[in-house]
Amino acid sequence: MNSALPARSDFNAIAGWIKPGAHVLDLGCGDGSLLRFLKEARNATGYGVDIADDNVLACVKNGIDVIQSDLEAGLSGFDSGSFDCVILSQTLQAMKHTERLLKEILRVGREGIVSFPNFGYWRARLQLMGGHMPVSKELPYQWYDTPNIHLFTLADFEKFCRGHGVRILERVVLAGGQSVTTWPNMFGALAVYRLDRTGGAAPVSA
């Protein structure tokens, strides 16, 4: 999803957390470019998941194995703990069943990596103060044509994690491709989190 976004700046952050040879599931994989990057940079194996016919075809052309499936229906086709890492790159904000999907990610993956555009970014706040919904590189849609139905900030996400048994292992916040460490919820345009379940890894399937 959101493959229109130029130069997916979260790719490098994600690759930095993927161990060499890891088995990875990329949800909402688009044309498979992240998996291809991880295959080449980290010798990773795994599959993409996408619902769109054209993305499935693009993955095949990209040499990426893809499973056509609707993420909103959950990940029942995948065993618990069957992947080292399940990635959801810039897709969470477009999902209807946010809670269920995050739970599923940490069931199927020993770890999860989730990235999303930060609605608390100062430019977004400014646009909203000016009386309009934010439109930016990370949120490139108008209010009437956006696939993004759940807009949230870093603070919102972290509060969600605390309340849902999700442990934040690492966080990278970016703006203009640069890392942001000062007031990230204000100056970060894109956030990338590495997560697991509070109390350790997901149970391995029987």
């Binding site: 016919d53 499935v56 993955c59 499973i67 065993d79 069957s82």
Partner: protein, 380 residues
């Protein structure tokens, strides 16, 4: 060239089937042995010097070795998967050497129940053994060896053909690069078996069946075959496709309050049944439906399909069609799950097509684009 021939640029053109005789006995899964047998096959394209560009096409219930092209003697007799296979088509015969084969027990030229049993000098009839998907794979493997093909770049099939492609990757994991498993299932459901049983009962209770030895009576259990085929056709189409194609259209425009053909769907089913009963052998139909019923690679692994696929090493393209209720997408997802469990290379596509089970034979652009891209990705 025959002026009536469909001489279009992307056809493999006029083709000629070939028969090959095998003398080495084939031990079947049932325990019976075929002492000797013939297989009829066709090939399109050219086998390269490395013998690495061969693709095997496995047929489903009523099809045959005649997969692409046409016959000079009958230009309207076009191969059953001609829309997929030919020069420049998704399975490109400019690059691949494609093999179609009529399965053992068939009625299109390979040894089957209507063939003469050398032991008796009479048609095999009821004595022809029950054959299984495993047996077909074994016979196909012998044909491959005969043709000098150690490894297929791909084994492809839909429905029962998909089961054979899947079985190939379990029986001969090193002889298959990629399996196309289209509109398949890892085993039949009780409902599937039930439909097959009704079809078989239609045939075996036909007074002309004579316990399977109707050849010597000079008759054919035509009524049974006809009913079996009509039933089959109902399951190949979706409710929507049938409504779209026939609706409640009346041939005469009004109710006749009788039992002749009135609704268009009745006319269609009768036509399909009649046509089928003139060319298909009833004993073959019985055996092929049995092969479907028995297919269950997980059975010998305590029902665990993942365990059955443990030794597999091929790549897979699994395709299902949303309106297929005979082998629904859920059945394909069972296969995909087992492949994922083994971390095998698999791509799964669920095509939103209205045609029901028959969709695997249609030239849906999404379906064909996917097969084309997959075939193009095979190593040279």
């Amino acid at each position: 060239m025959n002026a009536a021939a469909p001489n279009i640029a992307d056809s493999v053109g006029a083709v000629t089937p070939v028969d090959v005789h095998f003398d080495a006995p084939l031990r079947l899964k049932s325990g019976a042995t075929m002492p000797q047998y013939d297989l009829r096959y066709e090939t399109y394209g050219t086998l390269n010097a490395q013998r690495s560009n061969a693709i095997l096409v496995c047929h489903a219930l009523n099809a045959s070795h005649h997969v692409a092209g046409w016959y000079a003697s009958d230009p309207r007799d076009i191969g059953w998967w001609d829309n997929l296979i030919g020069p420049g088509k998704p399975v490109d015969t400019n690059r691949f050497f494609v093999v179609g084969v009529n399965n053992l027990g068939g009625c299109h030229g390979s040894t089957g129940p209507a063939s003469v049993n050398p032991a008796t000098g009479r048609p095999w009839g009821a004595d022809f053994p029950v054959v299984t998907v495993d047996d077909w794979v074994e016979a196909q493997a012998r044909l491959a060896t005969h043709l000098g093909i150690e490894r297929f770049a791909a084994v492809i099939g839909g429905s029962l053909g998909a089961m054979q492609a899947l079985q190939w990757t379990m029986t001969y994991p090193d002889r298959v690069g990629l399996a196309l498993v289209s509109a398949g299932a890892p085993k039949l459901s009780a409902q599937n078996i039930a439909f097959n049983e009704v079809a078989r009962q239609a045939i075996t209770t036909d007074p002309d069946f004579h316990g399977g030895n109707y050849y010597e009576h000079g008759v054919v259990p035509r009524r049974g075959l006809r009913l079996a085929r009509m039933l089959g056709h109902i399951t190949y189409l979706s409710d929507d496709a049938m409504a779209e194609k026939f609706g409640r259209e009346l041939r005469g425009g009004e109710f006749k309050f009788g039992f002749d053909v009135e609704f268009e769907i009745e006319s269609y089913l009768r036509y399909q049944g009649d046509k089928f009963s003139t060319y298909f052998d009833a004993n073959t139909y019985l055996r092929i439906t049995k092969a479907l019923d028995y297919f269950d690679p997980a059975f010998e692994h305590g029902g665990n399909l993942s365990a059955a696929l443990k030794g597999a090493r091929s790549r897979y393209l699994v395709v299902s069609f949303t309106s297929d209720w005979r082998f629904s997408p859920a059945r394909s997802r069972e296969i995909v799950k087992a492949l994922l469990d083994n971390r095998l290379n698999v791509t799964y596509a669920e095509i939103d097509a209205p045609h029901g089970h028959d969709a695997f034979l249609m030239d849906d652009p999404r379906y064909h684009a996917l097969i084309r891209a997959t075939m193009e990705s095979l190593p040279q």
